[in-house]
């Protein structure tokens, strides 16, 4: 078994036009920078993307927007893209916004063999329009379907040749569920190590969910909002 690819370009090769592609990350934190760049370079078009956000103008998935390769997007918050606004108005991009917890659970459900589930989030709002609402023990819930994908592009801190992954801090976010929800999961890692180097008790995403793994060539790890506190002089 060899899941290791020599470059991000080789790892994303073969993703066809019109594919449904999940992209891990929250804001710019924990996004697969190298895989995004490599995917843009393939010139693939009409992608249906699933990601909590859409990057920012000029970085992360914002670059995919600029490349005009996204036909439809499902996420929970897309507030940082000026380009997005003009594309939605011009109807060149279809955006579906859903509650963040519903997004996370729909992705998790897809990887866990759960076709649908009931959640209280969005009852009585536009989110519930056209969906079954059912009462359990006196409370209303809306039926939400699992959200699978053809490909998932995810980012971990460290991974081994077998695809076992470990994340760092809040860069974990949507990456583990997406790993399980796609037919083909492509993981990029900052450090690619030999099996045995990761303590089995510390594995967050077991390798069974990962089909391709690549060590990222370089990382910018850009910060979206640098908030600081002042040092008090002693």
């Amino acid at each position: 078994m060899n899941k290791v690819y020599a470059s991000a370009a080789e790892a994303v090769a073969g993703i066809p036009d019109g594919a449904t592609v999940m992209v891990g990350g929250f804001g710019l934190c924990g996004i697969p920078e190298n895989l995004i760049d490599a995917l843009i370079a393939t010139g693939v078009k009409n992608l249906r993307t699933i990601s909590n956000n859409l990057g920012i103008d000029g970085f992360g998935m914002g670059k995919m927007l600029e490349a005009g390769m996204i036909a439809a997007h499902t996420g929970s918050y897309v507030g940082e893209n000026r380009l997005l606004e003009s594309m939605v108005i011009a109807r060149t991009l279809e955006v579906t916004l859903i509650p963040q917890g519903t997004l996370a659970e729909r992705i998790r459900a897809a990887g866990a063999g759960i076709p649908a589930f009931f959640t209280p989030a969005g009852v009585g709002t536009v989110v519930a329009e056209g969906k079954e609402v059912r009462e359990f023990d006196g409370r209303s819930y809306v039926l939400e379907r699992a959200l699978p994908a053809d490909y998932a592009l995810i980012k971990a801190w460290r991974g081994d040749r077998l695809g076992n992954l470990v994340y760092r801090k809040t860069a974990r976010n949507f990456n583990p569920m997406m790993a399980a929800a796609a037919k083909v999961t492509i993981a990029e890692v900052e450090e690619l190590v030999e099996p045995g180097k990761i303590d089995p008790d510390h594995v967050i995403t077991p390798g069974i969910y990962v089909q391709r793994i690549v060590q990222g060539a370089k990382y910018e790890r850009r910060i979206e909002r640098r908030t600081l506190r002042e040092r008090q002089s002693a």
Partner: protein, 223 residues
């Protein structure tokens, strides 16, 4: 300067909201004004802040040079970890929210109505940004407090008979804290529990579209 007045209003709102914290609470603070509640945790009280992007035990902003791109809050701001912090996936994060494990969610509002229905995510005709985790939080936190300025910048009421904007959650708000008042949502309607020093219940009612019931035990806001 209006901005200074706003800052003082906000400070009063935030300080009053902080008095709702209880020892041992797991609390989710919304983006913007609610985040500032963390600066006013009363002495002797330990609360653990949850950030829905996958963290318990959110610490203060980092010192210059110590910021970490892999460590942010739900507002995408750089933060720090504390002894005892924990990280988890977005699915786990919303499972703990949906599962009713969050004692208190504090968030902002554009409108709240007399049934406690909240609108805070979208204004038709304006750019749609998305609801993020707000719909999940208000549906499932054990207690939901709205912190907001009592009226819009033009003085129009934000506490209404019925919300006019697309809603975030139906009958989800427990308490409204503004610079003018503390209001509790009850089955009978909105109950005015506290008024700011120097204001009368009538002043608050004038700035409120929904009819207010006056508490038998009406207090002055003390912070």
């Amino acid at each position: 300067m209006p901005s200074e007045i706003d800052a003082k209003k906000r400070e009063r709102i935030v300080r009053r909201a902080a008095l709702e914290l209880r020892d041992g609470f797991y609390v989710n603070l919304g983006i913007g004004m609610p985040t500032l509640v963390a600066n006013h945790v009363p002495p002797g009280i330990e609360v653990i802040l949850q950030s829905e992007n996958g963290m318990l035990g959110v610490g203060p902003y980092p010192f210059p040079g110590e910021e970490n791109p892999d460590l942010i809050n739900a507002g995408k701001e750089t933060v720090t970890e504390l002894p005892g912090s924990a990280y988890f996936s977005s699915a786990e994060s919303f499972a703990m929210i949906r599962g009713g494990h969050i004692n208190l969610s504090i968030l902002g509002a554009m409108e709240v109505d007399e049934e406690g229905t909240l609108a805070n995510w979208m204004v038709p005709g304006k750019v749609i940004k998305g609801m993020g985790g707000a719909m999940d939080l208000v549906a499932s936190a054990r207690r939901v407090i709205v912190t907001m300025e009592h009226t819009t910048r033009t003085g129009a009421p934000k506490i209404l008979h019925r919300c006019t904007l697309p809603i975030t959650g139906l009958r989800v708000v427990d308490t409204i804290i503004t610079e003018m008042a503390v209001i509790t949502v009850t089955p009978a309607g909105l109950r005015l529990d506290e008024v700011a020093p120097g204001l009368t219940p009538d002043d608050v009612q004038q700035a409120t579209e929904a009819r207010l019931l006056i508490s038998d035990n009406l207090q002055t806001i003390t912070i």
